[in-house]
Symmetry: C2
Subunit: 78 residues, 2 copies
C-alpha cells in the first residue's frame, strides 16, 4: 500500500527549488504525493498547522514533518 505525503509550499523560490527535488526524486511507487499551495489554498492552513508545519516548504510523510530549508513562516501566510 502506498503512503500518502503532502508537500506544502507557497510558491516562493525556496519552495520551488525544494518542490523540484521532491517531485523528481520521491519514489512514486511508494508514495502518493499531494502538492498544496498554502498561499492560494488558505483553507488548508489549519490542516498544515495540525500536522506540525511551521514554515514552508515542508513535506509531511507518515506523520513526520520535514521542513526543507526555509521559505516563509506559516504565520506569514495567514
Amino acid at each position: 500500500m502506498k503512503t500518502s505525503a503532502k508537500f506544502y509550499h507557497a510558491g516562493c523560490p525556496v519552495c520551488l527549488e525544494a518542490e523540484t527535488a521532491v517531485t523528481r526524486y520521491l519514489d512514486t511507487a511508494k508514495v502518493d504525493l499531494e502538492v498544496v499551495h498554502l498561499g492560494s489554498a488558505k483553507n488548508r492552513l489549519p490542516e498544515a498547522e495540525r500536522a506540525g508545519v511551521r514554515s514552508v516548504p515542508a513535506l509531511v510523510v507518515e506523520g513526520k514533518v520535514l521542513h526543507l530549508n526555509f521559505g516563509a513562516a506559516l504565520a506569514d501566510l495567514k
Copy 2:
C-alpha cells in the same frame, strides 16, 4: 544515468528521523544515495561546507542543499 546524492548527518535524533524518510522514499532507480556521518567522518566536513551545508541533517542533490529540519549546526561538529 543516476544522480548521486549525499545525506549528511551526525547521528542526532532529528537526523535519524530525516534519514528514515530519505532512505525509505527516495527513488533508488534515479538516485545513488551516500549517507555520511559527519560526527565520525570529520574529514568530510570541508566537502559538506563547500556544498553549502550549514546544519545537519541535510541532503545534497544536483548541487542543491536541502536542510531537513535542524539537528545540529555544522560549526558544532568541528
